[in-house]
């Protein structure tokens, strides 16, 4: 990657000031689309190129999914309306059963205007870190 490409990536980067649970030092990420239908993305760390996570926007699979941000989280992200929020969740896979799972307990929320985000740990919900899904059209 040359300098210009790197600067272009940094320009588009999402900033997670607190890092992620388990990876507190990784603050800057970019989103890379993985499919033409936009179902899955790769959340790629810019601080450590070896670190990435597959994520997806959960509403294609769970239209009723409704994570609630606390007042504190809303204030931290300076979110004034839900329209300003970008939300996606981690994806995992069991290689024996070939089952794909979504982590609905730990969604990422990003303010689309500031590009600042964080991973939430939802409280007071029944959402699971491993909710099975069927893949669309592969």
């Amino acid at each position: 990657m040359d300098q210009a490409e790197h600067e272009a990536l940094v320009e588009k980067a999402l900033h997670f000031p607190d890092g992620l649970p388990g990876l507190p030092d990784l603050e800057r990420f970019v989103i890379v689309e993985l499919r033409e239908d936009g179902a899955f993305q790769q959340l790629q760390s810019l601080d450590n190129i070896d670190v990435s996570m597959i994520v997806c926007v959960p509403w294609m699979f769970f239209p009723d999914y409704a994570p609630v941000l606390s007042d504190i989280e809303q204030a931290e992200l300076e979110l004034e309306s839900a329209d300003d929020a970008i939300l996606f969740v981690p994806v995992s896979f069991d290689s024996e059963s070939h089952q794909v799972f979504l982590n609905l307990l730990g969604p990422f929320v990003v303010n689309a205007k500031t590009r600042v985000g964080r991973q939430l740990v939802l409280t007071g919900t029944d959402y699971s870190t491993r909710t099975p899904i069927e893949l669309p059209g592969i």
């Binding site: 607190d18 992620l20 649970p21 388990g22 990876l23 993985l34 499919r35 033409e36 239908d37 179902a39 899955f40 790769q42 670190v51 990435s52 996570m53 597959i54 997806c56 504190i72 204030a75 931290e76 981690p90 994806v91 995992s92 896979f93 290689s95 070939h98 794909v100 982590n103 307990l105 730990g106 991973q119 740990v121 939802l122 409280t123 870190t129 491993r130 893949l135 592969i138």
Partner: protein, 80 residues
Amino acid sequence: MLVLTRRPGESIVVGENIVVTVIEIKGGQVRIGIDAPREVDVYREEIYEQVRQENLTAIANAEEIRRAVQDQSRPRDDDT
């Protein structure tokens, strides 16, 4: 680990501005109230740990997960 004995209604102060209060003890459960500044995140330990573990697993297996979810109709040079 510091171990303290507290009765319902009594508190523990952590640092300058975190207060942990035992509210009620009933049937093997303790209700705890926590007053902390808004920049301090407070989680149930087991829930936070689940998300942390799941992140580490998702990152360790990112390549395999990417192959599992990627559109096969879109050829990539690094497909196996």
